[in-house]
Subunit: 259 residues, 2 copies
DNA sequence: TAGTTGAACTCCTCTAGACGACTAGCTACC
DNA sequence: GGTAGCTAGTCGTCTAGAGGAGTTCAACTA
């Protein structure tokens, strides 16, 4: 049986924080294992002799920290840490494309996960000012917009939107839902644009409500955002991609020369 | 005067979320500017005709999202976005060290901020199993541990801890609080270890209470974590550095060859 | 003038209770 | 045998109130 301890009314730390502290320790020390259910609100109300809202405040704190998830009608459970996927900086290596694997597929399989993609939407739009600038296009030039959601072992882990100039995508399956083996980078190279390098801008923030929904995460889970630009050997930007990843599921690895 | 709108009791979105939505929109559309004060709880209770806790729930949601910060006794304010600092992947370029600038100093100045460092602590410890493994040392070999906090324009933006093998640091100012011009990387190179490359592992998570305190951020602000290893030209790991950055203050730029 | 007090305002924490909605398991009926 | 409905247990949301504590500023006092 879990030792819930007691709260101390004389100390200046408020009861709801003390309760959160006790539960947090149990989780961090493994006495409450991932997936395990926390004591119900009723039990804790009884045990600590506090009001319902006080217990809920404590649980709210843990939810904000991403330590637990509540399930309406069932209980509150310790978050089972999703598998962490390491993304090495060679994930865009040509050999993967030559093997018919897209970057995501190659990485997920290497990490032993079952990859999946859904919610694919492909449209042809006029480039926004920002996208045009990043791609070095004139404003309002047309681009293929590809958005999709990636899954690992059936769980959503990332949503991404790519923008490719129509002039490059024309006559290729890039504008189709199914781009064929190797993904869009393989198609871009076949179209005569040999890829030379990528730049990635990494940052992190809290998710918007839409992103929370698409990634099936709570409001306490941060996201990693990647803004990637692909350049061909002539230095032309041939694709930009905005990616939002579930932060807890990823570690990004980069190799930086000292120069 | 700010248009607070009204809530719709017939729709299935709960009132506290509707209130949060209204406020969020005002913030996102700039009608509530950074630093500006939100209507007080009392005003909103009156305006929407709801109970205290309902308004507080709405505000809590915005706090969790990192959009606002509450100040006891003063009010709730739209978070003023701290200056974002872009960290280019050339931030460890040798020329910076040759100019006597550490990586942080070089970057901060380039971005037009006043850099600062405080809370410097230097100790000599037996390497933990993890650090020993990352540095390729035998367990319990001694390392110099340097931890410090970085400030930009007086605001804390990052805490970092470096581990350098004592065998490399011996006889250099690396074990001193003041390492001299160019920082520890300059000293490592002077000690005969020419730096060849770095690897960085980037991830993001919510901060621990300690980190919240050191970085002076609320519980709704995520942090970026960097685990860096520096290698010399012989392939030996000469330093590892664990960094925790305020996520909203940084964009990390990386250059990835397509290979 | 300089310092203190007090009021008014703010958010923080807690209590005690209400009803609603979701889940899961059991039961009774067809 | 299958299903519809009941029920206990869970979390979600809301109400109406309380005292506490930090902030500000004006009024008061020495």
């Amino acid at each position: 049986m879990l030792d819930l301890g007691t709260i101390d009314r004389t100390v200046d730390r408020p009861p709801y924080r003390q309760i959160a502290d006790i539960l947090r320790q149990h989780i961090e020390r493994g006495r409450l294992a991932p997936g395990e259910q926390l004591p119900s609100e009723a039990v804790m109300i009884e045990h600590y002799g506090v009001a319902r809202m006080t217990v809920r405040e404590a649980i709210k704190e843990l939810r904000t920290e991403g330590l637990v998830v509540a399930q309406h009608g069932k209980g509150v459970f310790v978050r089972s840490a999703p598998p962490v996927r390491r993304l090495a900086s060679d994930r865009f290596a040509r050999r993967h494309r030559q093997e018919g694997k897209s970057a995501f597929l190659a990485e997920a399989e290497a990490a032993g996960h079952v990859p999946g993609v859904d919610q694919i939407r492909v449209t042809n739009e006029a480039a926004s000012a920002e996208v045009a600038e990043r791609l070095g296009l004139k404003p309002r030039e047309r681009v293929i917009v590809r958005s999709r959601r990636y899954l690992a072992d059936g769980r959503p882990v990332e949503v991404a939107t790519s923008y490719i100039p129509e002039s490059i995508a024309k006559g290729t399956p890039i504008a189709e839902v199914n781009t064929g083996p190797g993904g869009i980078y393989a198609r871009i190279e076949e179209a005569g644009h040999e890829l030379a390098r990528f730049t990635e801008e990494v940052s992190a923030r809290m998710p918007s409500p839409d992103e929370r929904k698409a990634l099936e995460i709570g409001s306490g889970s941060p996201v990693l955002t990647l803004v990637r630009t692909a350049f061909d050997t002539t230095g032309r930007a041939v694709e930009v991609c905005d990616t939002v990843k579930v932060a807890t599921s990823f570690v990004l690895e980069y190799d930086v020369p000292a120069r």
